[in-house]
Symmetry: C3
């Protein structure tokens, strides 16, 4: 059977969305200020994310130890929360809607590989968290997945396909277990 040959891997075609110097600078800023405990509060972290191109709404909360790959591919809506140790591995666009909660230890994963090719080509797909959706603690959203409005991915679950609006999903792969009803 055919084998993988990572020597033939080539992602020269990939659009990082920023040049080498900007990426190097962000690597430093992320390691020192964002993905650390230096700043417990959100203010300066939001300033730096914005400076590097992130679109950040008002009232956004960003906890310590957040790891963001490329801020220029990140949008966070009004009053959304990004929890401690959240990992936004956004090689592709990530759009976090208003009033979303991404809980502690969750991962937003946009990168994949074509495992049917011996060159193991990089595949990236955007992720959209629609308004009011909740990515539970230590759960993972896979590339290309959309969390419908107010959907919930429960603790430690893995979203491999889209979540219906107001659906509550659990497991690996995450399956719908019930419907969310919100009282005013």
């Amino acid at each position: 059977m055919t084998k993988v040959d990572l020597k033939s891997f080539n992602n020269d075609w990939f659009d990082h969305g920023a040049g080498l110097i900007i990426r190097g600078l962000w690597y430093l800023f992320n390691a020192i200020y964002l993905n650390s405990y230096i700043f417990p509060f959100s203010g300066l972290k939001k300033f730096w994310l914005s400076l590097f191109g992130a679109k950040i709404g008002k009232g956004v909360v960003i906890k310590p130890k957040v790891n963001v790959k490329y801020p220029w591919k990140l949008t966070i809506g009004d009053y959304a929360w990004i929890g401690e140790e959240v990992w936004i591995d956004n090689l592709d666009e990530v759009i976090i809607g208003p009033n979303c909660c991404v809980s502690q230890g969750a991962m937003i994963l946009t990168g994949n590989h074509d495992f049917t090719k011996s060159s193991f080509d990089l595949i990236t797909k955007p992720i959209v968290l629609e308004e009011g959706s909740w990515v539970g603690a230590r759960s993972t959203v896979c590339p290309g997945v959309k969390l419908g409005s107010h959907s919930i991915l429960t603790v430690g679950s893995i979203a491999t396909k889209n979540l219906d609006p107001y659906g509550i999903y659990q497991g690996n792969p995450a399956e719908k277990i019930k419907t969310r009803v919100i009282s005013p």
Copy 2:
């Protein structure tokens, strides 16, 4: 349908169990000494945890990179082990019984949100690990869950409800797969 409105979130009622200065100091101590690789051994870490109010038994082992939210809400029984990169996110009381093992990368999660309310109210619930129970590597114990005496939560599993004494549980949500028998 009704939407979430995180602007209306309010946790002023919440009892952190310590004032702002103590919490700020612990934030620093945790980041520098506990949740780091500075001290490979347990001694000084146990001293600081105790100084900030944790009740720690004798013979307790605490590995590096342990993240504790509020030591004044933590009890660790005699000869219990806390593994590398364990995250004790104890907004509420966490009681770890004697001879318990919390393995590397595990999470003790006490915080939740009322997802049926547009104000997404904070809910915290205590966690109890009874004597001799084992929280497996990279597993997660959810708010309010009690691990019965000598129960086991296997690697990467998510405990969403109580575990029976001497029960072995696996999966997300964790289900009982067999019974633990211990020979002398």
Copy 3:
């Protein structure tokens, strides 16, 4: 029923594979250079791993924040990739074959305990990732498991038993969901 007694735990018999000073030095090197963001590139990290006894092939890529317990028990084949925040907890031998990909946040776990003994004895078992296998992001390979050639452990899955060559496995415990076919 019989209880666990961690006071009676004894791993004096265990062969760490290196003396206390070497282990202490590696603890430092790992914390400062490997398991950090100091070096974004692979070169120096591979040099140090090799200096401490790891066998590392050509073209190997090692991302930042990789945590290696004992380099003298580690073999990495040609053109293999070790992703960001990969945790190789190798108390026992870990052999990563050529062209393997261990994705970001994955864990290679070689340590276990005999939960049928009150002394909770340490058990370690080697792990082998055969050529071209892929350990998905945030997945975990349990002690003694062999990933067959070109097998895939999907995102967040837990491999508790061997994976067949070219098999794709998902869940906790990971079950085979399909077969991998690679076109040239």
